[in-house]
């Protein structure tokens, strides 16, 4: 009996903020985020990802995001391409329909995690899957020495600096991330460049 073919499975990680999150998250959210991660699975020389348009596929690195910011080796799989596409089509009709997309709870990383476990039994790194909860749990900003409510401490020429403005804006009862929740919920990400997978006649 011939040994089964092993196909490598890679995880492509893209930072949607292109580095801005790492620089601005301490100011805006109060905690350090390394990036806004979008991931996709690359197997059988194809990249598969989930967006607001459903499951899509493209040549590796073929979305508008360009080459990935990092590549994680997930493992290898015996699952053939045919079987994998069957699996994807069943997913696309059940759990990962296009309308099921939700930026926080059911996003591209959810899909990637699911597929990675199917293919290799392993999950994707936790810093990716923990991102939504990280954002939603951002703490209340603590008033600094020169807070927005204290205009006296601010130099009259410059006015309040952006940190204070943001602190003032976020000074609601809910955490900053929660305050942004309605806005962020409406955001749908679909990197262009992919084609539909697993739907009859290619319709999303």
């Amino acid at each position: 009996m011939e040994p089964p073919n092993l196909y490598p499975v890679k995880l492509y990680v893209y930072d949607l903020s292109k580095g801005l999150a790492r620089r601005l998250s301490p100011i805006m959210l109060g905690k350090q985020l390394e990036g806004i991660w979008h991931t996709s699975i690359v197997v059988h020389k194809d990249e598969f990802f989930f967006g607001s348009g459903g499951i899509s596929s493209c040549p590796p690195g073929g979305t508008l995001l360009g080459p990935p910011d990092s590549v994680v080796d997930v493992g290898s799989t015996e699952v053939t391409e045919e079987l994998f596409l069957e699996y994807l089509s069943s997913l696309g009709e059940s759990l990962f329909r296009s309308e099921a997309y939700n930026l926080f709870e059911h996003n591209c990383n959810t899909f990637t995690n699911e597929v990675a476990q199917f293919l290799t039994g392993r999950k994707i790194p936790s810093y990716i899957t923990d991102l939504p909860s990280e954002i939603l749990s951002t703490p209340l900003p603590t008033p600094g020495p020169c807070s927005f409510a204290n205009p006296d401490s601010v130099s009259p020429e410059l006015g309040p600096c952006p940190t204070e403005i943001l602190a003032g804006l976020a000074g609601s009862a809910r955490p900053f991330g929660q305050a942004l929740r309605p806005l962020l919920d409406s955001i749908q990400i679909q990197p262009p460049g992919g084609s539909a997978v697993g739907r009859p006649n290619g319709q999303s």
């Binding site: 290898s76 699952v79 596409l85 069957e86 290799t120 679909q190 460049g193």
Partner: protein
């Protein structure tokens, strides 16, 4: 015989109650595995030495499918029938993935094989044309990412890459029904880009440059349409004014209207507009004569005028002035009308020199307006001050072109008195900005309406009585205007503080002509 009890959260049925308790006293050989399939997962209690094939039997009964449709995947490895679960390392609590292959194997094979066959062209298509399904949609963000999704190909991609019927018309029809495509079609910017990049369109645009300009500027398009509607009106105006003209023009207004009716704006029209502008300058001399502030400009202008060559204005770039040409004509006609009104009042010869110098200076200094629109009632307002505004640099000989008249005469180019006055006020504002002393004077005039009324009535006679050029030159002197301003300020202050003292200064006002002498009141 191992008992298989399937517990599912949703299904009410229970397994074989063969006396084995559910949770307690689980024999060590029975393991609980989770089977995940197609978005749902279920738990199964099985012995770990069960053969995969036997497990598959159970699953096929459970999922109502045939055994050969089942494919079990654990840790990325396909489970073969002859293995046992223990051999594969499946322990308690592990998850086994199940894929139920489609029943119609022939169709699924055909589907997958076609996918494989078409994958290479798919790749190519994906690379070159992108896909209209990929729509980056942050909520309420503009469509520019959509445009970038179709990088270079102006044609809408005609292929759904993984579509089975790739070349059939139904595919195209389906694609057109795709909301993404409809979104693209409704994207005006993108459609405009499509149109402009079409080779036939480009050829047409080369022949008629105005078309490209029209495409890019909807404002011009709107104005052009309104002009077309108002051609009759313009012609009427021109014909009315024609018998009154006192200045010769080699080109008759009729020829202008003929050229005007051709919105193509050819070189002939350019040339004619150039000539028209020349004549406009000439015709403006008379209206300038009646204007007291002309020489004000002349005074400002004379010094720089001598340094600059008084070349006749050579208009350039007529193509982008098509909508402005009729305004040229209207202003032209109105100026001629005014010339007929005012020529009787003022001696043209005297001021022609001044105004010619001023016009020359205008042409070379790049002043945008050269229209001498005067109110037909003969009241010399400050219309020619338009000449002063917006010096645009000396290289722009298109001064005679009425560039800014386009902005001033928005909407209906059919010139009415209100429109002229609006243009006048607009130009007045410019002048006032440039000359604060004059602005202050105007403010005083406004605040003292009685005085302003009287001034307006007195001013023409007052100016006519005096040496016009000297007076205007004197006004041009900033110190003189400042002095007058101080006098006015003092008078106003007096009027507010001690009106009773006004009669004491009345003689001064009479002498200045700002108050009617008692004989006249």
């Amino acid at each position: 015989m191992p008992h298989v009890i399937s517990r599912t959260p949703r299904m009410a049925q229970s397994g074989h109650p063969s006396g084995l308790p559910t949770d307690r006293n689980i024999p060590p050989s029975v393991t609980r595995v989770i089977v995940k399939t197609a978005g749902k997962q279920e738990e199964f209690m099985i012995a770990d030495n069960i053969l995969v094939s036997q497990f598959k039997e159970k699953l096929s009964a459970h999922f109502k499918c045939q055994m050969d449709q089942l494919v079990l995947v654990f840790m990325g490895r396909l489970l073969k029938d002859h293995d046992t679960l223990g051999q594969r390392g499946i322990l308690d609590g592990h998850t086994i993935h199940l894929v139920i292959k489609s029943k119609h194997r022939s169709r699924s094979l055909a589907h997958s094989s076609q996918n494989l066959l078409t994958k290479d062209p798919c790749h190519r298509d994906r690379n070159t044309k992108g896909n209209n399904n990929g729509v980056y949609q942050p909520a309420d963000v503009s469509h520019t990412p959509v445009e970038s999704a179709l990088p270079m190909d102006p044609d809408v991609p005609k292929v759904q890459t993984q579509d089975l019927e790739m070349d059939s018309p139904e595919c195209i029809e389906q694609m057109l029904q795709n909301p993404s495509i409809q979104q693209l079609l409704s994207n005006l910017g993108l459609m405009r880009q499509f149109i402009s990049e079409h080779p036939d369109m480009q050829q047409w645009m080369q022949q008629n440059p105005e078309v490209s300009h029209l495409l890019e500027n909807s404002e011009i398009l709107r104005q052009t349409l309104e002009l077309a509607r108002n051609l009759a009106m313009i012609q009427e105006i021109m014909q009315i004014e024609q018998p009154e003209q006192t200045i010769e023009h080699p080109l008759s207004p009729q020829s202008y209207s003929d050229l005007e009716t051709m919105p193509g704006g050819d070189n002939a029209l350019d040339q004619s507009s150039a000539d028209c502008n020349n004549h406009m300058l000439n015709s403006l001399q008379d209206p300038f004569g009646g204007n007291p502030f002309t020489a004000l400009l002349g005074g400002h202008v004379l010094e720089p005028a001598q340094s600059s060559p008084p070349s006749p204005p050579q208009p350039q770039k007529r193509q982008d002035q098509l909508p402005q040409l009729p305004t040229t004509r209207v202003i032209y006609t109105s100026s001629r009308g005014l010339s007929s009104n005012t020529s009787a009042n003022v001696d043209p010869n005297k001021v022609s020199h001044t105004s010619s110098a001023s016009t020359t200076a205008i042409s070379t200094e790049g002043w945008s307006h050269n229209c001498a629109i005067q109110q037909p009632d003969g009241v010399p307002a400050l219309p020619s001050i338009e000449l002063t505004q917006q010096p645009q640099g000396e290289d722009k000989d298109t001064t005679i072109s009425l560039n800014s008249s386009d902005q001033k005469l928005e909407g209906d180019p059919q010139l009415s008195d209100e429109q002229t006055s609006s243009q006048i006020t607009g130009s007045m504002m410019q002048l006032l900005l440039n000359n604060p002393y004059l602005a202050a004077q105007m403010m005083l005039f406004i605040t003292m309406p009685q005085l302003s009324e009287q001034c307006r009535q007195q001013l023409p006679t007052f100016l006519q009585q005096t040496e016009l050029s000297d007076t205007l030159l004197a006004l041009a002197n900033p110190r003189a205007s400042q002095a007058i301003l101080q006098i006015e300020q003092g008078l106003q202050l007096l009027a507010t503080e001690a009106p009773v003292l006004l009669p004491w200064v009345a003689p001064y006002l009479w002498g200045l002509g700002w108050l009617p002498s008692p004989s006249c009141s």
